[in-house]
Symmetry: C2
Subunit: 321 residues, 2 copies
C-alpha cells in the first residue's frame, strides 16, 4: 500500500466538513476562506515518539493528544479552531495504527468542529506534526504581553494530574485503580479549553496554556508583559487525588510540570464581575491564584505565606532525557 492509498483509507471519511473550505485534502495545498472582520491564528507542534509520548502508547490517545495540544495553543489566543494539517512520519505503513490514530484525532476534531485539510505522510521515525488554524476577531487575540499590575491571575480546572499520571507510568507513584481512573486521561487525552477561551475574549488581558508547567508558562507571560506576579500556592487548584498525595509528592507536579493544558489568564479588576458572571452561567471551573505586580519577579508564597523556592522551573525540550 502506498502513501496515497493509506491516506485515502484512514483519513478519507473524516467527521467534519466546513463550508469555508474551498480546497481540502488532495491538491498541492488546501484553500480556506477567512470571514471579514476576522484574523487568522496559526500554531504547530511536533510530538516525537519516545520524547512526547511512549512509542507503545494507545494510538487513539496519541491522535487525541496531538490535535488537542495544538487547539490548546489556539485557545491561549482566544482563537476559535477551524482547520488542521497533519504530518505523519512512521517507519513503515501500519494501517491499523493509523486508523486508531485517526479515530483519536477525529474525536477531538468532531468535538470542536475542526476539519483536516491537508498534510504529508512519509517514512521516518514515528512523529506527528500538526498545524492548527483558527479565527479571532480583528485585533482581539489574547496575547502574553498585555498583563498589567493589579490584574488577577486565574487558571482553569485542576493542575498536576498529568504529572501524577506520568509518575505512575514511571513507577514512581502507586495509585489505586479508582485514583488512576480519575486522572489517566489528564496526561493521555487532555481536553483543550476552547470553550473557556472564547468566553474570555474581551475579559482576559493575557493568556497562555499550561504545557511547560505553571511557573515556566506564567514566567513567559511576565517576561512578555514586563511585569511580575505574586502566586499563592494555597490557591492552586488540585484534584482530590493530588491533594491526598500532596504531603508525599509536594507542589512540583502542579506548578513545575507540563502537560496540564489548562489556561492561565489574567483579568483586570474592572472585568472581574463579567468574568464571575460568565463562569457561573457557563459552569466553567476557574480559580484565582495570584496577582500581577510591578516588580519583575515571580514571588511564590507557600500556604504559610512564606517565600517558596521551586526545585525546577519547567520543561526544557532539549534537556537530557
Amino acid at each position: 500500500m502506498n502513501e496515497f492509498e493509506l491516506i485515502r483509507t484512514c483519513f478519507a471519511s473524516q467527521p467534519v466538513s466546513r463550508p469555508d473550505v474551498r480546497v481540502g485534502i488532495g491538491d498541492d495545498a488546501a484553500v480556506f476562506r477567512v470571514p471579514g472582520g476576522m484574523e487568522t491564528a496559526i500554531t504547530s507542534d511536533v510530538l516525537v515518539a519516545g520524547v512526547h509520548f511512549f512509542a507503545d502508547a494507545d494510538p487513539v490517545s496519541i491522535g487525541h493528544k496531538s490535535l488537542a495540544v495544538n487547539l490548546s495553543d489556539l485557545a491561549a489566543m482566544g482563537a476559535e479552531p477551524a482547520w488542521f494539517l497533519l504530518d505523519l512520519t512512521m517507519p513503515s505503513v501500519d494501517v491499523p495504527w493509523v486508523q486508531r490514530f485517526a479515530e483519536g484525532a477525529f474525536g477531538v476534531a468532531r468535538r470542536f468542529n475542526v476539519q483536516l485539510i491537508g498534510g504529508d505522510m512519509s517514512r521516518g521515525p514515528l512523529a506527528i506534526g500538526i498545524t492548527a488554524i483558527g479565527l479571532v476577531p480583528e485585533g482581539g487575540a489574547i496575547l502574553r504581553s498585555d498583563a498589567r499590575p493589579g490584574d488577577q491571575i486565574y487558571v482553569t480546572g485542576d493542575l498536576g494530574d498529568a504529572a501524577l499520571s506520568l509518575m505512575q507510568h514511571r513507577g514512581e507513584l502507586k495509585l489505586s485503580v479508582a485514583e488512576s481512573a480519575a486522572i489517566t486521561d489528564r496526561l493521555a487525552r487532555p481536553m483543550p479549553r476552547v470553550d473557556e477561551s472564547l468566553a474570555l475574549r474581551g475579559i482576559a488581558s493575557s493568556a497562555i496554556d499550561l504545557s511547560d508547567g505553571l511557573l515556566a508558562d506564567l514566567g513567559h507571560v511576565l517576561e512578555a508583559s514586563a511585569v511580575g506576579a505574586r502566586l499563592e500556592l494555597a490557591r492552586v487548584p488540585l484534584s482530590s487525588v493530588y491533594r491526598a498525595r500532596l504531603a508525599e509528592i509536594g507542589w512540583e507536579g502542579a506548578i513545575a510540570n507540563g502537560d496540564d493544558y489548562e489556561l492561565c489568564f489574567t483579568v483586570p479588576p474592572e472585568r472581574i464581575p463579567d468574568l464571575e458572571r460568565m463562569a457561573a452561567e457557563r459552569r466553567f471551573v476557574i480559580t484565582r491564584i495570584g496577582e500581577i505586580t510591578e516588580d519583575r519577579e515571580l514571588d511564590v508564597r507557600d500556604p504559610a505565606g512564606k517565600p517558596y523556592r521551586p526545585r525546577a522551573l519547567g520543561h526544557d525540550h532539549f534537556a537530557p532525557a
Copy 2:
C-alpha cells in the same frame, strides 16, 4: 542553552517583516491578516534526515530546500507565499548547524518576501517540518482537477537534473566538474517557480509541482480531472548535461524521478496566445510536452512516435529504501 534561547539566537533576526503579521514568533500562536477578496492557501511538508536529505548534507542547503519545496506547493496553486512556520526536531542543540540552516531558509524567505511567524523546536531525530501559507484570489486557486481534453500540457524549466545529481551522490554516475557544478543546485537548492505561478493565474486550467516525477505527478492531475494525456518524450526539456547522457541513462531521470520542483500545468487552447505573450515578456522558460485527452490513460510516446513503457512510476514515500 534551552530551546527558547536557541530560537532567539538563530531565528530572531529574520530578513522579512510583513505589515500583515499581527503576532509573530513568541506567543502561543501567530496571527495574520488576510486582505478582502483573497483566500488562504496552506501546505506542509516534512523532511526527514536519511529519507529526504543526507544527514551530513550542508545545513544551508537543507534550510533552503525545506522552505523551497513548500513554496513550490503553493506555486502549484497559483498562491503568493506570505508566511511560514518551522518545526525543527534535532537530537541535541547544535547552534552552528541551526544558524546555517536558518541562513538557507531565510535566503529563500527573503527572495519571496515570506515571514517566519512560528513553529516549534524539540528533541528527536533530525527532521524539519514546514507549513507555508499564501494568498490566492477568491475562487482563483489553480487546481489539479480542472484539466480538460484539448488543453495543452506544459512544464517550466528542464527536467531530470535533480535525478542526475542524486545518481552522482550515489556513485552511479560520473560527472565532470563543470557538469556537476551546472546541476548540483537542482537537487540541493531548487528554486520554487513562484513568479511563473502568479503569472499563470487566469491562464492555466490546472497545475501541479513536480516533486514525485512527471509521470506520477501528471498522473495525479489526470486522475483528479478524470482525463488522460498524450505525452511526447521528444519534447520533454532536458539540460545540455542531461541530453549528453541521455543514451546512457535513459528518460527515467527526467520523467520518473522526483525533486525537480518545476511546474507542470495545462492551458486551454484559447489561452495559449496569452501564455506565449506572458512567457516572452517575462522570459519564462516553458515547454509544451503534450495534450490532455478524453481517454483516461497516459499515452507516452518515444521520439520515434512509438508507445513508451516507463520502468517506474514515481516516488512512493513508503517504498523500502
